[in-house]
């Protein structure tokens, strides 16, 4: 009975799995007030940082403090079997029960909860990664040789994953997820076998690249000796390796969430009509929105080079500033999906008692129902607003700090004018999509 109740609740909520919780029309003030206020906050932050921050302060990377351990600590090793069991759950999903657990594991657990927690607690996925655990148990080598593709395999996998989430009509079905997990496992084991576990995962595992990027914001990180220590907020962002495809990956982070927001908006349907539901159109739009974000970014970087009076290479400068977009990507994702985590995430309480959906009640929580009423729309909106604005202000700060290294000090602030305009535009777009 409890399974039936739980299944019914999830079935009713099924549209939310793909697109978060819908927009709202009942903002406490008109949207234009919020967008204007956010723009003013960004411009004032830019002015304050530009005048008071005259030397680069973040470029040295993290300085680890041995006195402050991460809340993850050594307990993180316990996550390993959890990761392997989760993969197993997805693989056997089509053969047991109602198939909700695989969808939860992939779309809520792996895709949202792990990255969101990692922004605060440090990279949890390295410990959870089932493919790393299996490769380690199989005795595969850590690093064999480097490859010339940088992060492009992960960019490819990222779009494949997002396509499954946003375009494929069967993306939440247990059978589809099991097939995807088999294909993805084959893909990763291929890379790990040829290049070694670490090199393979760093190149081809979308979750490794994604979580490592967003967890660079976290004040906790792994020291060379393996311990997880305090290093300070956002300190690791500036020393992320600028591999090939890094810019594309960061842009894809923003572009895909933007597409998800746009695709669900009334304005999008008004403009493109019925074609918005066609998979070919959706695939093209997914890539097209990311391309537009990419062009905006390259335009802002080209303007920065021009305004600074330097003669730097566009490609190298774009790679140098790419990390500054990561807080925006993380903020977009969090603001867009955190309601999904707080509401649908409650299903975890029932899933731990009955992971296969076959009537078990291991911990007596199988019948736990989801409470959809504990979040007020106004409260959600304020959280989204604060997260979006904070993410963009952090990006402005990081871009300013990097500009002091890349450009002459007299023109460093001037070089960021167009970047600031882009960030104001992205803030406005983000708020528009969340409110729409």
């Amino acid at each position: 009975m409890s399974v039936v109740i739980g299944s019914s609740v999830l079935a009713v909520a099924s549209p939310a799995w793909a697109h978060g919780v819908g927009g709202r029309q009942d903002l406490p003030f008109p949207l234009s007030y919020f967008v204007s206020g956010a723009a003013v906050a960004l411009i004032i932050s830019f002015m304050w940082i530009g005048i008071s921050w005259t030397e680069p302060k973040l470029q040295g990377g993290p300085a680890y403090r041995t006195s402050r351990l991460s809340p993850v600590g050594r307990w993180a090793l316990l996550l390993r079997p959890v990761g392997v069991l989760s993969l197993l759950l997805v693989l056997v999903g089509p053969f047991f029960g109602n198939g909700f657990a695989p969808a939860f594991v992939v779309w809520i657990g792996l895709w949202l909860i792990v990255p969101f927690l990692s922004v605060v607690m440090g990279d949890l996925y390295t410990f959870l990664n089932p493919w790393r655990a299996l490769a380690s148990w199989m005795g595969m080598a850590g690093r064999k040789r480097e490859h010339p593709l940088g992060l492009w395999p992960a960019v490819f996998a990222f779009f494949g994953f997002i396509w499954l989430e946003l375009v494929a009509s069967s993306g939440s079905e247990a059978r589809t997820l099991a097939i995807a997990a088999v294909c993805y496992s084959a893909w990763l084991f291929g890379w790990m076998a040829v290049f070694g576990v670490d090199t393979g995962l760093e190149a081809a595992d979308v979750f490794t690249v994604f979580v490592r990027s967003v967890s660079s914001i976290s004040p906790f990180g792994r020291h060379r000796d393996g311990g997880i220590l305090y290093r300070g907020w956002a300190k690791a962002l500036t020393v992320l390796p600028q591999r090939k495809g890094f810019v594309a990956f960061v842009i894809a982070m923003i572009g895909t969430v933007t597409y998800d927001g746009l695709g669900g908006s009334a304005a999008w349907r008004d403009i493109f009509g019925e074609s918005v539901d066609h998979p070919m159109f959706e695939t093209g739009a997914l890539l097209g929105v990311s391309l537009v974000i990419g062009l905006l970014y390259y335009g802002a970087i080209q303007a920065a080079i021009y305004l600074s009076g330097s003669k730097k290479s566009l490609t190298k400068t774009a790679a140098s500033f790419a990390h500054t977009l990561i807080p925006i990507g993380a903020a977009y994702a969090f603001a867009h999906y955190f309601t999904l985590v707080l509401l649908e995430g409650q299903a975890l309480i029932g899933i731990v008692s009955d992971p296969f959906g076959i009537g078990w009640d291991l911990f007596g929580t199988a019948g736990a129902a989801i409470n959809y009423t504990w979040l007020s729309p106004t409260w959600i909106w304020w959280v989204q607003l604060v997260v979006i604005v904070t993410g963009h202000i952090l990006s402005v700060l990081l871009a300013h700090d990097r500009s002091l290294v890349e450009f002459p000090p007299e023109t460093a602030v001037k070089s960021q004018w167009v970047m600031l305009v882009m960030m104001v535009a992205l803030t406005g777009l983000g708020l528009f999509l969340l409110a729409g």
Binding site: I43, M47, T54, V413, K414, W417
Partner: protein, 49 residues
């Protein structure tokens, strides 16, 4: 443009857009000038030492 300015309330709406944009541009120019002055002062004091 004429249609925007001519309709009732056109001027005040136009100013509501224009004034913040001009103020923002002024703010950016002021910040860039002030930062450049500081950088030059720092450079000169560094050379003087």
């Amino acid at each position: 443009m004429f249609l925007v300015l001519a309709h009732q309330g056109g001027w005040d709406e136009f100013l509501m857009f224009l004034v913040p944009v001009v103020l923002g541009m002024w703010g950016l120019r002021f910040t860039a000038r002030r930062a450049a002055e500081k950088a030059r002062e720092k450079q000169e004091s560094g050379e003087g030492e």
